[in-house]
C-alpha cells in the first residue's frame, strides 16, 4: 500500500494547485456573474425595483432548467459550447468554464433568496429619499444582505470543490482526479485518503473563514 511519494508528491501538489485554481476562478467569475443574475432575478420580479415580467420570466425559466442538471451530465452536455469558447473540452481550463457556468446559476438563486429577506420598507425608505434603482442596488441591497450572502457563498464554495472532483472525470486534473487516478484505480487507499483529507481541510478552512466573515458582517 505504500506509495512512491518521491514521484507522486509533485503530482499531488499540482493537483492541489489545480483544484485551488479552478475553485478560485469559478468563485471569482461565477460569483460575480451569479451575483448580477441573482440581483436581476430579485429586482425584475413583480413589485421589484426594475419590475419587468418578460425579463424575469426568461431568467427564471433559464435558471430552473439549468440548475437541476447533475454536473457530470452538464459538463459533457455543454461540450460543444466549451470547444467553441475554450478550444477544447478537456483539461483544467475547459472544466473551469463549465464550473463557472454551473456556478452562475446556482449562485443566482442563493443571492435571490438572500435578497428576499431584506425588509421592503428599507428599500421604500431609500426610494423616498430619491435614490435611483442603481444606487439602491449598489449601496443598499448588497450591504444589507451581506451576512447571509457570505454564508451563501461559503455554501457554494464547498459545492464547487465537490464539482471540481466530478470534473476530474473529463480530465480536469485536481484533487478529485488525483484520488481516482492514483488512489482508487490502483487500490491505494492511503493516496485516496490523503486526497480526501486535503479536500476536507480545504472545505473546513473555507467554512471557518466564511462563518467568521459572516459573523463580522452580522456583528454577532
Amino acid at each position: 500500500m505504500n506509495a512512491d511519494w518521491g514521484t507522486l508528491g509533485p503530482t499531488f501538489l499540482t493537483a492541489i494547485g489545480q483544484t485551488l485554481w479552478m475553485v478560485l476562478v469559478t468563485m471569482l467569475i461565477g460569483g460575480l456573474l451569479g451575483l448580477v443574475l441573482g440581483i436581476l432575478l430579485y429586482t425584475t420580479r413583480r413589485g421589484g425595483l426594475l419590475a419587468n415580467r418578460v425579463v424575469f420570466t426568461v431568467l427564471n425559466v433559464l435558471v430552473n432548467i439549468i440548475r437541476p442538471i447533475p454536473f457530470i451530465i452538464f459538463i459533457t452536455a455543454i461540450g460543444p459550447l466549451t470547444i467553441a469558447v475554450v478550444g477544447t473540452q478537456l483539461g483544467t481550463t475547459a472544466a473551469t468554464f463549465a464550473l463557472i457556468l454551473a456556478a452562475i446559476f446556482g449562485i443566482s438563486r442563493i443571492v435571490e433568496q438572500n435578497l428576499v429577506t431584506i425588509d421592503p420598507g428599507v428599500i421604500e425608505a431609500a426610494r423616498a429619499m430619491g435614490a435611483s434603482p442603481m444606487r439602491i442596488i449598489r449601496t443598499l441591497l448588497v450591504p444589507e444582505a451581506l451576512g447571509p450572502l457570505i454564508l451563501g457563498y461559503t455554501f457554494i464554495f464547498v459545492a464547487v470543490v465537490d464539482m471540481t472532483a466530478v470534473a476530474g472525470a473529463v480530465g480536469a486534473g485536481g484533487l478529485g482526479d488525483f484520488a481516482i487516478t492514483y488512489g482508487y484505480h490502483r487500490f491505494n487507499w492511503v493516496v485516496t485518503g490523503i486526497a480526501v483529507v486535503t479536500i476536507i481541510v480545504l472545505v473546513q478552512a473555507a467554512q471557518f473563514l466564511g462563518n467568521w466573515l459572516a459573523r463580522k458582517a452580522l456583528r454577532r
Binding site: 428599507v122 425608505a125 423616498a128 429619499m129 443598499l140 450591504p143 451581506l146
Partner: protein, 341 residues
C-alpha cells in the same frame, strides 16, 4: 396663500392583481404650508396609499396632485427623484438600514442627495443634536429602543432640509410614553423648522395632540376635512363620531350607567362641552331660575387642536316640566342628549 399640497379629484387604482382595487376615490384635499395635517382612518381606509401619492412612491391614477407648485402626476422618473429629495418620510417600522450605524443612516440620505463630506459631517451632528440622540451616533439600529430608532428616522428624514415631512403611522409601534416624546419632537420640527407635516394615523390621540387640520378617510373616500377642533366638535359622519368616541368617554354605558342609576334617581343628560360655549355659566344661572338641582356624574374633556372639547353627564332633579324647560334652554347653547331609562 396657495396650499403646499393639493389633491384635485385624485383617484388611485391598483391594477397589479387580476381584479383592480380602488384604494382612493375622488379625493379633494388642501394642505396649507406650515401646518400639521392629520389623516385619520381605520386600516384599509387608504391612508398609507394617500401619503405615498404625495412623494410619488405610488403613481396617481387620475386627477391632479399639486405638490409645492408642480403636478406630480405628469412627472418623469428623474423629476420624481428630485421631488422626493425635498420630502422627508418617517415610517411605522422605522425602516433603518441595519448594516449602518445611526450616523451612517443619516449619512445615507445626504450621500444620496450628493452632499460633500465636510457638509455631511456637520449636518449629521446638527441633526443628531436636534433629535437628541448624538450619544448613540456609532450604535447600530439593533442596539436602539423603538423611540430611539424613530428619532434616527426623523433625523434622516430631515437631513436634506425638506419642506414637507410625511409621517406614516410614526408612533403606532411605540409605547404611550415614547409616543408622547416623538409627537413633541414632530411638533418642534414643525414649530422651529417650519416644516409642513402630514401625519397618517389610526390613533385619535395623535391627531388631537399635534394636528392643526384633519382629514377623515373611510373606505377610500374623504369623509370630512377641516380644522381639528371644528371637525371633532361637530362630527358630521358616523366614522368621525366613532373616532371622537375613542378618546372622549363622556357618556356612561353598561355597568357604569347601572351604577350611576342606582345612586342617582334624577334624569340623566349628556351635554357637549365646547370651548367658547360657556356651558358652566349658562347652567349655573339657569338651574336656579328653573328650580332644578344638578350633579355632575360622568364626563370627559380633552384638548383638540389646543381647544377644550368633551361632554359632561348631569343628573337633573326637579319637577318634570321644570327639567324639560331647563333642557330646552340648554339646548340653545349646546347639544343635549337625554339618556333613556
Amino acid at each position: 396663500m396657495a396650499p403646499i399640497i393639493e389633491f384635485k379629484n385624485v383617484t388611485k387604482t391598483f391594477t397589479e392583481s387580476s381584479t383592480p382595487v380602488t384604494a382612493l376615490e375622488n379625493i379633494d384635499l388642501r394642505i396649507e404650508s406650515g401646518e400639521i395635517f392629520g389623516v385619520i382612518g381605520y386600516s384599509g381606509a387608504g391612508k398609507s396609499t394617500l401619503v405615498r401619492l404625495i412623494n410619488a412612491l405610488e403613481p396617481v391614477t387620475s386627477g391632479e396632485l399639486i405638490v409645492d407648485g408642480a403636478d406630480v402626476a405628469g412627472m418623469r422618473e428623474r423629476e420624481l427623484r428630485t421631488l422626493r429629495a425635498g420630502i422627508g418620510m418617517v415610517f411605522q417600522q422605522f425602516n433603518l438600514l441595519r448594516s449602518r450605524t445611526v450616523f451612517g443612516n443619516v449619512d445615507y440620505a445626504l450621500r444620496t442627495a450628493g452632499w460633500d463630506k465636510q457638509r455631511r459631517r456637520d449636518r449629521i451632528e446638527e441633526l443628531l443634536n436636534f433629535v437628541g440622540i448624538v450619544d448613540k451616533a456609532w450604535h447600530y439600529p439593533d442596539q436602539l429602543s423603538g423611540g430611539q430608532k424613530q428619532r434616527v428616522g426623523i433625523a434622516r428624514a430631515l437631513a436634506t432640509n425638506p419642506k414637507i415631512l410625511l409621517a406614516d403611522e410614526s408612533t403606532s409601534a411605540l409605547d404611550p410614553e415614547t409616543t408622547g416624546d416623538v409627537l413633541r419632537l414632530l411638533k418642534r420640527v414643525n414649530a422651529e423648522l417650519g416644516v409642513t407635516i402630514v401625519v397618517i394615523t389610526h390613533e385619535m390621540d395623535v391627531v388631537r395632540e399635534i394636528a392643526d387640520s384633519v382629514a377623515v378617510l373611510d373606505a377610500g373616500g374623504l369623509v370630512e376635512t377641516g380644522p381639528v377642533f371644528e371637525v371633532f366638535s361637530r362630527p358630521q359622519s358616523p366614522t368621525t363620531r366613532r373616532f371622537v368616541e375613542t378618546v372622549l368617554r363622556d357618556q356612561p354605558e353598561g355597568l357604569d350607567l347601572e351604577r350611576i342609576r342606582e345612586r342617582h334617581t334624577g334624569r340623566l343628560v349628556t351635554a357637549r362641552v365646547r370651548e367658547g360655549d360657556r356651558l358652566g355659566s349658562v347652567l349655573s344661572e339657569a338651574v336656579g331660575r328653573h328650580n332644578v338641582r344638578f350633579d355632575i356624574v360622568y364626563g370627559g374633556i380633552q384638548a383638540f387642536g389646543g381647544r377644550s372639547l368633551g361632554g359632561l353627564t348631569l343628573e337633573l332633579r326637579g319637577a318634570d316640566a321644570d327639567v324639560d324647560a331647563l333642557i330646552a334652554e340648554l339646548a340653545t347653547t349646546t347639544e343635549i342628549e337625554e339618556l333613556s331609562v
